[in-house]
Symmetry: C2
C-alpha cells in the first residue's frame, strides 16, 4: 500500500495549465505544442504488442484477396462499428477503447514476417497481393469516433470508418477486439459506482482472475475510466499513471508462527517506540482479548514496516474473535503514539454483519481505553466476490464498509462477459447497403450518417441519426424523430442543445489539435455525463430505454433499401 | 481460408522422430539435443510482454518489504496453487498455462524502470530493499507442476513453489493470472468437444469478443489444447503453429450490388472457365431459383478467388430462399468442372432446422440435375452464439451440421468467466501452516505434500495427497484413503497403477531433459486422458465428483494444526 492510499497521484494527472506571461513564453509554448502535435501525428504503438494487422480473423485476409482479385479493393466504402444491446440488462454503455484504436490505425503495417506467414497459408494467392499488403497503411482511411467515455446506446455508430474497401475491411477484427472489452469493463465499473454511491471508495483487485495478462491490464485501466479510485495492479499503475493500492494476503499472516518471529521496535519519522511489540501485547491484555498469537505477530510486523498505512487483513483465523481484536490492539498502540492506523480488510463471511460488528468493537475499545484514540474512524475495506447486486444488497443491510475491493466480477464481467459490438458495411461506391437477417435484430441502418445528441432543458432526450447530407438539427427548431424500422413510432422534439457525436479523429493522419485523453480526464467526463442522464435510464433494475431516432429522410431510405433487398419468399 | 481448411499443418506439428543410422548420425543428434537443452535452460520470454514481475498486485510488493524488514525474506517457504471448485458445474478441469509459468520464472527480473517506479510508490522504504529487488531472480526457487493438459480436481496442488519466502510470495499474482484463464478455456473447449462428439469439427472464432487482445490469443491457443481443430485468429496461427480457418463476412456479400460487379472467368490450375459467371447465372435459371443478384455476384467472385475452398455465408438476405440456392448454383458449376465445392455457413436463425433444410435443397438439386455432382456432401458450418448447452440441444434436434464455429461463449467462458485458483502458503521454516476461515471451503491443506493418481483396472479411481515423507503408494498394496476434513469418510483401495503427478520442472533452472510440450502434443494428451476417465465424472449434467483423498498420516497432521490454530470463541 505504501504511500498511495491517498489520491495525490490522481491529481497530478490533470493536464498542466499554462498561463501566458510574455511573448517569449508564448513562443516557447507554441513550440512545445507544435512538437506535441508532431508527436501525436504518429501515435505510439498500441499498449499490447499483439495488436498488429495480423491480430485478425483469417476471413478478413481471404476477403481482402477476393476484393483484390475482383479489383474492388480500392473502391470507397463506409463501415460502422456498433452494438445491438446494452450489457448487464441495462439501458446504457460507456464507450471506451477508442484511444487504442487510433494508436493501432496510426501504426497499421504488416511486417515481413507477417507476409511470409500469410504466403504459407495462402499458397495459391498471386504475388501481387502480398506486395499490395506489404505496402498497405491507413493513409487513405478516415476515422470518426464518438468521444472516449461517452455514454452510448444500441445501434449508434460508435466508430465510422471511411476508406478503400479492402483496408477498411481489414480493420474489423482488431477494432472490435479493442472496443468490446474496454467498453464492457468501463460500463461494468460505472454501474458498480452507481450501485455503491459516490462517497464509497472502489478498488480494482481483478488481475489474478482476469482473462489473461491483458484482461488484467485493460481491466485496471477501464475500471478507472468507469469510476473506480485505484487498482492493485502495479504495472497498470506504472503504465497508465493511476493510483495503486494494497496491504497483505493470508499467506503473510500464516507465515508467522509465534510472537518470537517479530522485532521489538518501530520507528516512524521522529517517533521511536523501542518496545512496540511489548506494548501491543500489553494492550491486548488490557483489552481482555484472547487472540491468535501468530496473527498478532503478523500485524505487529506489518505495522513496523508500514506504520502510517497500517491496514490489517482480519479473517485468517476468526474475524471477530481474533482478527478485529488483534487489529484493535496494534492500532491502539499506534494511535496512542500519534500515528493514525488505517483500518481492516474483511475477505470472507457476511460482510454487512461483520462490518457492523467490527465497528462496534472499535467503539467499545475507544470507550474502554478512554484515550480519545478514535479507532471508530478506522477504514473498513471489504473484498470477496463482490458484484453489482451484492453492492445493492449490502446497502439494504446498512453495511458499515468504507471501501470495496472488487476483482473477479469486475474484470471478467461475470454477469455478461462480452459486449457484442459488430462492424458492418453501410455504403460502398457511394451506394447505401443493408444487411437483412432471419433475425430482425441483426438488421443494419444503411448509408453514410451523422449522429446528434438532442438535449432538452434537463439533459439528453434522444440521439438522432441523420443522413450525412441532411441539415444538422438546430436549437429551437422542431424535428420529427422516427423509430428506424417502425413508422408508427415517432416523436416531435425541439432541441435546447445539440451535440454532434461522431467526430473525425483520423484523416490519413491524426487530425490537428486532437490529443488522446488521459485516463483521469476520461474518468471525469464519464462522471459528468452520468450526472446529467435521466435517473430511469441509468438505474439498475428495469431501466427505461433511451431513444435512438432517425430523421424522416433517413427513415425513407431505410425502407426503400429494405424492400429492394428482401427476396419475395416462394411458398409452395 | 486458403489452403488451411485441411489439417495438414496439424500433422506437421508432431515432433520429428529420429532414427539412428550411424554413430556419425548419433553424434549429430546428440549435439542437437544438447543445444536444445542449453536453449531450454533459459526459456524464451512469456508470449505476452506484460508478463513481468510488475504484473502483480501491489500487496505482494508490500508484503515482500515487510518480510525484508522482518529479515524473513530468505526463510524457506512452500506455496501451493490450486482451485476449490470445478468450473461450469462440472467435475473436472483441464490444467493449462504451466508452459507460460515456466517461461515467466525463467525470465523473472525487475528492470531499472520497474525499480524506479516502485521507489515513487514506496517513498518510505529503505534503499537496501530496492537493491535486493534489483538482484532478485528465481535461481533459489524450485517449481513442481502437474503436466500441462492433465485432468485435475479441486484442492489438488497444481503447482508447488518452494523457495525463499519473499520471492515465492512475489510469484503469486502472475502465476494465478497465467493459470486461471488458460485452464478455464481449455476446460471449456474440452466440454464443448465432449458435447459435440468426436467427429464434428470445431473452430474457434472468438477473437473479436475476447477480453482484450490477450484473451483472444490465449483463447485460440488453449481452445486447441481442449480439443478444437482450428482457429480464425491469424496471429495465433503464426505464433502457435496451429491451423487457421475462415471464409467471408456479411460485409463481403453486401459490398456487391449487382452481377455487373463480377468478372467472368475462373482459373484453377489446368481448369479454365472463361464464362464462369454466365454458367452460374444459367445454372440458377435451370434450377428455377429466384435469388438475390448481389449475393450471387459475391459468391461467384469468392469462387473465382478460392475455387478449391468455396464456402459461402448464406444468411445475408434469406438463408433458404436466397443464400442456399445461390450456393447451389455456384457449387453445381464448380462441381460440373471437377472442382469440389466446400459448403455453406449458417450464421443466424434455427440452426438445426436450417441445416436439415439446406441439406434437403442440396439433395434436390443433385436429383434435379442428375449429374452426380454430390452437392449433398457439402459441408455445413454453423456459427452464431453457440455454447455447450446449444450443442447438446442441437444434437437432440438431430441437426445436420458438420462444423461449428464458436466464438463468444468459448473464449469469454460465458457460463463462468473465471476460474478461482488461489495460491496459499502451506509451510514456512519447515513448519506446516493452515489457513482457517469463516467459510469452511476456504481452508487449506497444510504442509509439503505429494500427489498421486491411483488407477484401478479401468482407469483413474482417486487422487491421493500424501505428506512428502510418506512412502509412495505402491501397485498391489492396499491404502486407506481419507477425506481431508471428515474422518468418517474413507475408502480402502488397492492400486493397479500409480502415477506421480507433481513433477519438478524448475530447480533454479529448467530441469535437465524437460522441454515445453507443443500445443498439438498437449491436445493429444488431453484427448487420451478424457478417454480413460469414468463417463459419469466428465458428463455435462450432474457429474459424480472425483475423489481427492489424503493418507491417514496427512489427515492426522491436518487435524492437529486445525485444532491448534482455531481460537476458542468467547460467548457472552
Amino acid at each position: 500500500m505504501g504511500s498511495s492510499w491517498g489520491f495525490d497521484r490522481m491529481r497530478r494527472l490533470t493536464r498542466v495549465q499554462v498561463s501566458f506571461r510574455s511573448s517569449r513564453d508564448q513562443d516557447r509554448v507554441r513550440r512545445a505544442v507544435t512538437q506535441r502535435r508532431k508527436h501525436q501525428m504518429s501515435l505510439p504503438a498500441p499498449e499490447n504488442a499483439f495488436v498488429t494487422p495480423l491480430l485478425t480473423d483469417f476471413y478478413q485476409i481471404s476477403m481482402c484477396y477476393a476484393y483484390f482479385k475482383a479489383k474492388m479493393h480500392e473502391q470507397p466504402a463506409v463501415f460502422e462499428l456498433f452494438f445491438r444491446k446494452n450489457p448487464f440488462k441495462g439501458a446504457f454503455t460507456v464507450l471506451a477503447g477508442t484511444d487504442e484504436v487510433l494508436r493501432f490505425v496510426s501504426n497499421f503495417k504488416f511486417t515481413a514476417e507477417h507476409i511470409a506467414y500469410l504466403r504459407t497459408v495462402m499458397p495459391h494467392a498471386e504475388d501481387a497481393f502480398f506486395d499490395y499488403l506489404a505496402e498497405l497503411d491507413c493513409s487513405k482511411v478516415k476515422i470518426s469516433t464518438i468521444a472516449e467515455g461517452t455514454v452510448v446506446f444500441p445501434k449508434e455508430p460508435l466508430i465510422r470508418v471511411e476508406g478503400p474497401l479492402a483496408v477498411a475491411q481489414l480493420l474489423e477484427t482488431p477494432l472490435l477486439n479493442l472496443i468490446n472489452y474496454p467498453s464492457l469493463i468501463a460500463t461494468n465499473a460505472a454501474r458498480m459506482r452507481l450501485a455503491a454511491g459516490p462517497t464509497v471508495k472502489l478498488l480494482e483487485f481483478g488481475l489474478r482472475r482476469a482473462q489473461g495478462p491483458d484482461g488484467g491490464m485493460s481491466g485496471s485501466k477501464y475500471a478507472m475510466v468507469g469510476g473506480f479510485d485505484a487498482t492493485s495492479n502495479v504495472l497498470a499503475g506504472m503504465m497508465f499513471d493511476i493510483p495503486i493500492q494494497g496491504t497483505h494476503a493470508h499467506s503473510f499472516i500464516t507465515s508467522f508462527t509465534s510472537l518470537d518471529d517479530v522485532d521489538d521496535g518501530l520507528t516512524h519519522g521522529p517517533v521511536v517506540i523501542p518496545d512496540f511489540k511489548q506494548q501491543c501485547v500489553a494492550m491486548r491484555e488490557r483489552l481482555g482479548y484472547r487472540t491468535n498469537d501468530s496473527e498478532l505477530a503478523a500485524f505487529i510486523s506489518y505495522a513496523i514496516s508500514f506504520p502510517a498505512t497500517f491496514l490489517a487483513l482480519v479473517d485468517t483465523y476468526s474475524t471477530l474473535d481474533s482478527g478485529v481484536k488483534n487489529y484493535v490492539a496494534v492500532a491502539a498502540v499506534l494511535a496512542s503514539h500519534g500515528i493514525k492506523p488505517l483500518g481492516i480488510r474483511l475477505d470472507s463471511g457476511d460482510l454487512a454483519y461483520l462490518s457492523i460488528q467490527a465497528r462496534k468493537q472499535f467503539r467499545e475499545a475507544d470507550e474502554k481505553l478512554g484515550l480519545d484514540l478514535k479507532l471508530e474512524n478506522s477504514t473498513i475495506v471489504a473484498s470477496n466476490d463482490i458484484n453489482e447486486s451484492i453492492l445493492h444488497s449490502l446497502k439494504e443491510q446498512k453495511h458499515d464498509i468504507d471501501t470495496f475491493g472488487i476483482g473477479t466480477h469486475l474484470v471478467t464481467c461475470q454477469a455478461q462477459p462480452a459486449l457484442g459490438c459488430v462492424y458492418k458495411l453501410v455504403q460502398v461506391r457511394g451506394m447505401p447497403r443493408i444487411k437483412l437477417s432471419n433475425e430482425k435484430d441483426k438488421m443494419t441502418i444503411p448509408g453514410l450518417k451523422q449522429l446528434y445528441r438532442i438535449h432538452g432543458r434537463t439533459g439528453p432526450i434522444l440521439d438522432l441519426l441523420t443522413r450525412a447530407d441532411d441539415p444538422a438539427p438546430a436549437v429551437g427548431e422542431s424535428i420529427m424523430a422516427m423509430h428506424p424500422f417502425q413508422e408508427e413510432k415517432r416523436a416531435r422534439v425541439t432541441p435546447v442543445k445539440v451535440e454532434k457525436l461522431l467526430l473525425v479523429r483520423w484523416d490519413g493522419r491524426l487530425v490537428d489539435g486532437y490529443t488522446l485523453p488521459s485516463v483521469s480526464d476520461t474518468r471525469e467526463f464519464v462522471k459528468q455525463q452520468l450526472r446529467v442522464m435521466r435517473e430511469d435510464h441509468i438505474r439498475s433494475q428495469f431501466p427505461t430505454p433511451y431513444k435512438l431516432s432517425v430523421t424522416q429522410t433517413l427513415f425513407a431510405s431505410i425502407r426503400k433499401l429494405w424492400l429492394e433487398s428482401s427476396p419475395v419468399a416462394e411458398l409452395c
